[in-house]
Amino acid sequence: MSNAPKIELGRRYRFSASHRLHSPHLSEEENCRVFGKCNNPYGHGHNYVLEVSMAGDVDPATGMIANLADLDAFVERQVLEELDHKSLNQDVPAFREKVPTTENLCIEIYRRLKSFPKAKLERIRVQETGNNSFEYAGDN
C-alpha cells in the first residue's frame, strides 16, 4: 500500500451574526414548539467558527496546497464580508426563504466556497457554539 497520504489544508475563520429560526409554513404555536427560544421575534446572535478544508497537490516549490493569502482573501470576499455582523434572515438572500439553521448555513457557505480556483473544497464545518457544530461535504 502506498505510503503517500492524502493531504488537506484546514483553516479557521470567525464571524458573528444574528438569526431567528422561524418558518412561514408553520403556525405561531408550531414555530414556538419546534424552535423554542430560537424563535424569539427579535432574533439573537452567535460567534460562529468556520473551518474550511481544502484538498489538492502540495506544490513542491512552495510546500503548499494553496497560498493562505489567496484562501483568506477568497473566504473574506465570499463569506465573511457577506455574513459577518449581519442578520442572516434579513441581509443574506439565501435565507429569505430558508430557515437560517446552522445546517442550512453550512450548505450556503459550501456553495459560496466551492469555486475556489486554487484547490478543491473538501468540506466545511461550522461551529455555532462551543457545543454545536455541523459539517457539510457536498451531496456526492
Binding site: 500500500m1 502506498s2 505510503n3 503517500a4 497520504p5 492524502k6 493531504i7 488537506e8 489544508l9 484546514g10 483553516r11 479557521r12 475563520y13 478544508s53 502540495v58 513542491p60 516549490a61 512552495t62 510546500g63 503548499m64 496546497i65 497560498n67 493562505l68 493569502a69 473538501e122 468540506r123 459539517e135 461535504a137
Partner: protein
C-alpha cells in the same frame, strides 16, 4: 471500527525560503514566513488510529505504546528543533504544515502495527492545520 486520538504538543522553529526563487518572489509568496532568521510555533499534533477493540483488553492499541511511538518518532526529532536544519526528513522541502504533516504520517504509518493510522492532524496555530489521510480511504463522516 473505533477511532482513538492522542494529542501531543511540540515547539519548533522554521523559515519558508525556496533557493530556486528570487528574493522578491520568496518575499511575495511567503510574506513574513520568509524572514531570514525564522520564527517558531507551538505545534499541536493529533494522531488518530482506527481498529477494532481487542476482545481481551478492550483496546485498539495500548495508549502507552502510542505515546512511546510519538515520543520517539516526533518529539525527539522535532521538539525544540529548527525544522529546516535539524530534521533530515524535511531536508529540501519547505516546512509548511502540509509537508510536516506528511512527514509525520510517513514516520508513524509503518510503526503503528496494532490498528492502523487513520489521520494525522497538525495544527501550526489554532486557526491553521493540515490533515493527512490514507490515500483513497474515505474521510470520517464521508465514506
Amino acid at each position: 471500527m473505533v477511532l482513538l486520538t492522542r494529542k501531543i504538543e511540540f515547539a519548533a522553529s522554521h523559515v519558508y525560503h525556496n533557493p530556486n526563487l528570487s528574493s522578491e518572489e520568496n518575499r511575495r509568496i511567503f510574506g513574513k514566513c520568509n524572514n531570514p532568521h525564522g520564527h517558531g510555533h507551538n505545534y499541536t499534533l493529533e494522531v488518530t488510529v482506527e481498529g477494532e477493540p481487542d476482545p481481551v483488553t478492550g483496546m485498539v492499541l495500548d495508549l502507552k505504546e502510542l505515546k512511546e511511538i510519538l515520543e520517539r518518532e516526533v518529539m525527539q526529532r522535532m521538539d525544540h528543533r529548527h525544522l529546516n536544519y535539524e530534521v533530515a526528513e524535511l531536508a529540501g522541502q519547505i516546512p509548511t504544515c502540509e509537508n510536516i504533516a506528511r512527514v509525520i504520517w510517513q514516520l508513524l504509518e509503518p510503526k503503528i502495527t496494532q490498528g492502523r493510522l487513520h489521520r494525522v492532524r497538525l495544527y501550526e496555530s489554532p486557526d491553521l492545520f493540515a490533515d493527512c489521510y490514507r490515500n483513497g480511504a474515505g474521510v470520517a463522516g464521508k465514506s
